[in-house]
Symmetry: C2
Subunit: 216 residues, 2 copies
């Protein structure tokens, strides 16, 4: 991480104050680090001794097969905590999707002290992953996209206008599809008037109910 700038906490202008008790009480040293788009936060096999909180921006967690196939297991948006690992080495890669501020929480070595606060967050991640298994295992392309858009909308406060920080390739690798299929489904939903595409990275949901039906 040598190439990255590091700031001390309170002076950072953009983000709002941390509300999470976990963030506060872990105390000790907390730095917000800026990761430019596409840069690595940690890699598979690296030693795991920190947790991270997204202050602004977005990150992707993924794994690779030997031949290069990639599966993104989760996106994490502003406010979310990531970096949990069983054992002390990372099983996944983490990268910034866009310019992203990450607060480093030095708690892993003292994980026991904060287990009370971390357990609910870990369980939240577990439920999310298991629900995503249903999407990948049993839903077709349209259902996957619909579920994805609903999820992103909810995580952005239920707004009808969604700002996607990730590329079509990222979406494809998250949903177990190809970029062509993702693009085709977007076009199809647009043609049917379910969504509008004001720009490449933003989506407006115009027929909420229809989208919800498609996601089921």
């Amino acid at each position: 991480m040598a190439f990255l700038e590091t700031f001390q906490t309170p002076s950072y202008p953009i983000h709002s104050e941390p509300a999470s008790p976990a963030g506060r009480r872990s105390a000790g040293f907390q730095a917000v680090t800026l990761f430019p788009a596409g840069t690595e936060i940690y890699a598979q096999g690296e030693k795991s001794d920190c947790l991270y909180k997204v202050e602004f921006g977005a990150i992707r967690i993924y794994r690779l097969l030997a031949d290069g196939r990639r599966q993104i297991s989760a996106f994490h948006l502003a406010g979310e905590i990531f970096g949990f690992e069983a054992g002390n080495t990372h099983h996944f890669f983490a990268e910034a999707i866009c310019a992203t501020g990450v607060r480093v929480l030095r708690t892993a070595s003292r994980q026991n002290e904060f287990a009370n606060e971390l357990l609910p967050v870990a369980l939240q991640g577990l439920v999310r992953a298991q629900e995503h298994l249903l999407v990948l295992g049993r839903q077709n392309a349209v259902e996957r996209i619909a579920a994805f858009l609903m999820d992103m909308s909810e995580r952005q406060g239920g707004l009808t206008r969604i700002e996607l920080s990730m590329s079509r390739t990222d979406i494809a690798d998250y949903l177990g599809l190809t970029i062509e299929t993702v693009s085709r489904v977007f076009s199809k939903l647009r043609q049917k008037g379910v969504i509008r595409l004001p720009s490449l990275r933003s989506v407006e949901i115009t027929k909420w109910q229809t989208l919800q039906d498609l996601a089921a």
Copy 2:
């Protein structure tokens, strides 16, 4: 690990004890309940106030879509703990696959006390789920079956002879395939001499290296 050790009283004359009444006095109260094959342990939407440990047998965790499609997110074999939930209602169904003994742990209401010991178990489940996402999102039928067989073998001590407690339907719903495809891949692997099928529910891995290559 004081808490976990108390689970490991391996003394079962199996009394099907009503899991409901009196014994709420301490977290030490533990009943082993026998669930016959196919019976429900808990259902989606039910209140979640227990954790469970498989003493013998096997269970499946799954979720349903409105039209009946099912995705099994995990199998739990003897010795494993399940029943973690975010919030206090179950998001999934749990059923016994075969006759199964389950130890009921009355800890959820006092989860904070045991967070230190539960967190690693929860994280283990999280890693498993995320690795399974790679299988469902990016691997073909042969790779999925190969990965499944490798996993089951490892969880049974690395033996070449695997006893499958679950049906083809369960395997299909775990791997995001149909029973026909599962059956076809099994046959194909048998024809190629990679596995033998001594009986319906047991598999013998004859070419370990080949199977491992296929799983990649």
